[in-house]
């Protein structure tokens, strides 16, 4: 994608906006339409766009696979942790009312953190899926000379098929 200067420039200016919009959808989900699922997918698609334009190897330097796997777990842990925390504080599982000083404040804190957990998991699962499919090599069918090629090559190859 080195020669696609328009794509690179447009993507560079769009990716921060996409990620910012994902955060808006995430945290405005309290008061308006939005929430963790949508925000996670938007955030993930921003990262996937980066991977499509700048290549899988560059993206793996920005977001290593280990971080992605850990973040996927952390999201679920946050979700379950809020449930257990509300149990510890004397409520039912995922009963947000006991989390804050007043029930209303507790609901605010609870839904915010729960949606954050959902958003993190969805975003990084989307990226993880993309990594798995884009990074897949056909070792049996490709000739051995192609082994050393850039990952970008395999994405372009799968586009043509």
């Amino acid at each position: 994608m080195e020669h696609h200067i328009v794509l690179r420039v447009v993507a560079k200016s769009f990716i921060p906006v996409i990620l910012l919009f994902a955060l808006y959808v995430q945290f405005h989900g309290d008061y308006g339409p939005g929430g963790g699922f949508q925000a996670g997918v938007i955030f993930g698609s921003g990262i996937i766009l980066y991977a499509l334009i700048f290549g899988l190897q560059t993206t793996k330097k920005v977001l290593p696979q280990s971080i992605i796997h850990h973040m996927t777990g952390i999201g679920v842990l946050l979700y379950a942790g809020i449930g257990v925390l509300s149990l510890i504080r004397g409520g039912n599982f995922l009963d947000y009312s006991v989390l804050g000083a007043t029930p209303a404040a507790g609901q605010h804190i609870g839904i915010m953190l729960i949606e954050l957990g959902v958003g993190v998991t969805v975003a990084f699962v989307m990226v993880s899926l993309f990594y798995s499919f884009a990074g897949y090599r056909q070792k049996d069918l490709d000739d051995p000379a192609a082994e050393d090629d850039d990952e970008q090559d395999s994405i372009e190859k799968s586009d043509q098929q």
Binding site: M126, F133, L141
Partner: protein, 117 residues
Amino acid sequence: MTYIGLYNYWIVFLLMMTGLYVVIVSTNLIKKIIGLNIFQTSVFILYISIGKVAGGTAPILAEGYKIYSNPLPHVLILTAIVVGVATTALGLALIVRIHSEYGSVDEEKIYQNDPVD
């Protein structure tokens, strides 16, 4: 008039039959997955249409709005969309595996290359 008024159900019908046709007729496994996704989208639209209340707004507390659409089907479909992404990824992963085993994503060729038959 009532037939035109219920146009989203016609769209559901059209999409559902399109998806079913693609699933049945296509021999390419990737196209089958696409057909399955089209079928799935029609079910999403069906449920969301059922949840709509005439004259209702989005189910968000605001001054001056008493009637709102039923949020339950929407939430159900939100989950279904996420599950749909997961099943699509699973299907594609299976197809990738089939392709590496048989060298094709076309059903006819897979049957030809199947050593069992």
